[in-house]
Symmetry: C2
Subunit: 140 residues, 2 copies
Amino acid sequence: MPINNYLSILKESRLKITPRRKAVIKLFLDKGRYLGPYEIRDMLKKISLKAGLPSVYRILQELEKAGILVKVEHKNRQLYYSLCKNPHEDHHHFICRKCNKVEEVKFCNFQEISRFIEKKLKGHVERHSLHIEGLCSVCR
Amino acid sequence: MPINNYLSILKESRLKITPRRKAVIKLFLDKGRYLGPYEIRDMLKKISLKAGLPSVYRILQELEKAGILVKVEHKNRQLYYSLCKNPHEDHHHFICRKCNKVEEVKFCNFQEISRFIEKKLKGHVERHSLHIEGLCSVCR
DNA sequence: GGTATAAATAGAAGTCATTTCTATTTATAC
DNA sequence: GTATAAATAGAAATGACTTCTATTTATACC
């Protein structure tokens, strides 16, 4: 998805298109992997777009709320985000533990487990999230 | 699994059986749900077993390392643990969002997704974790 | 292209979960 | 019982993340 689509989403969400927001989206597009606040701050500094950590955190929150980014669960329990390419499809993400690349997995067979739970445990399943980790085609 | 089995695991891991460790395991057995450091500290205080937060954190880490507890992923990114009843089986957990009960789901069809990833993305899958949330049979 | 407006940002300061450190206490092997 | 290493208490430190206020800036409108 080209950057202009993301900028349109910003407009739809009544968020102004500022140099920092644009640059953050570009970073995610260019890197193709998940990113954390500190490295984003550092990358922005490199392209002479200084931004304080509070601003970075805020921008990430706003982009998540707009549906442009999604949070990534990480073992160290710190904040990471990745670009959400298909917000409306039921899909999961495959994350490379070496290069942190995030790839979409357009496949979900969760219904089976869901039925198992409804039948055996008599519970009502509302949500699920699957974290898949390994080595991508380049790193393996 | 009765408490003595867990105490045996402690011994195998060369961890001493102290009043606090025993009490923490008992808490998890009794409550049947995931617990965080602060509530554990408070519960210990109630049974006249004062423990400082650093001690609680340490005990939880040790019990996790011994395979008695597992971390629970939580939206607020704070630390929660639950008892691991079958450390050696491939299984997942179903968590009730209302009472925090943790139930084992002895079912896993992950291989399908794994094969999908190996074939389509040419990646190598190493690990996965599935988080399932809803309402348990009592709370629904 | 100016200008008013609300929104965005900077930077200092604050919050709070978690960890580290050191002195003291305690479980266990003998 | 006693020696020893391991466990604990409590103060202090760490560090990710958030809040707050003053200043700057994108945008709508003329």
